[in-house]
Symmetry: C2
Subunit: 152 residues, 2 copies
DNA sequence: AGTTATTATTATCATTTGCAAGTAATTCCG
DNA sequence: CGGAATTACTTGCAAATGATAATAATAACT
């Protein structure tokens, strides 16, 4: 007999629920600007650090490589990003924001910041720092395990 | 000029990354049993509390209602759950696990528990409790805001 | 009771997604 | 050096998804 999982105390469940909810709320707000959640993730990543290659971006946005490949083509057609071959490695792409893309991230960013603040309401500065530290830790743990598994 | 968002300190990003990663790892392990992540979420929810209606389940699993409707039909065809009209409210469904469904959750649950443990490695019992409490708080904050918005 | 409103569920259709196979560039190694 | 293996990305295709419209049952109101 297996013990039942208590959902309100089950980390994957809590992560999924909080993550999906904040994504959905943000998403509805920025939809009028023509921004979808996957697009936003790409824009945000490129804002944060320009000149990404595709694989790197897929890893960081949690978007499947083939899905992302099509997404960046679409985003280039919309003049939000530029896709060119990397100089160093002719297989790789170099993805960068256009001015139009930059403008769009800057338009959407306040909504993201608003929802982050809203989510953290009632938590002290120290608690928030702890929460984020632990989430980074959690991700690091998973990442390390995945890497080890890939090794074998 | 808008200040750039620091990704490694941005809650929605941390939530998404951790949540997606743990979901993906778990998912690969249980795929051989014919369990997908959405299916797992439904099974887990019904394991936790039997006799759900569809809307309630959609809310709790973060699965879109129309998507979920098809999913539960498919799961009934696989004899994992039973779908019947609720006695109390003739509009609603009453969804329950079959013995086969129960067996399947019990097969998959150890993987879920394993990854939860893995994710929390290096955190003290007290820290874990704090993390979960804050995640519930975060979700509650978002939920409350959404409810208030819907009111107006 | 009859009409309207509300809530819950399903069907349809266009789009998105992800797996698997394919292509091209680069690196490895004899 | 040169062919095999690896890496980076793209594409084809079947399945999953989500928005919207339709349907059904119940509740609320007159």
């Amino acid at each position: 007999m297996v013990r039942r999982i208590e959902l309100s105390d089950f980390l994957p469940y809590l992560l999924n629920r909080a993550g999906m909810r904040i994504g959905a709320m943000f998403s509805r707000d920025v939809a009028p600007y023509g921004v979808t959640l996957p697009m936003w993730r790409v824009l945000l990543e490129l804002w944060h650090k320009d000149d990404h290659r595709l694989g790197e971006l897929a890893e960081r946005t949690s978007i499947d490589l083939s899905t992302l490949s099509r997404l960046v083509v679409a985003m280039q057609r919309k003049r939000l990003i530029v896709r060119r071959r990397s100089g160093e490695d002719g297989r790789a792409l170099s993805l960068t924001l256009t001015p139009k893309g930059l403008k769009l991230v800057e338009t959407a960013a306040p909504y993201a910041i608003y929802y982050e603040k809203l989510a953290m309401k009632g938590l002290s500065r120290a608690e928030v720092a702890e929460l984020k530290r632990m989430l980074r830790k959690v991700f690091g743990n998973l990442e390390r395990a995945a890497a080890q598994k890939a090794e074998n």
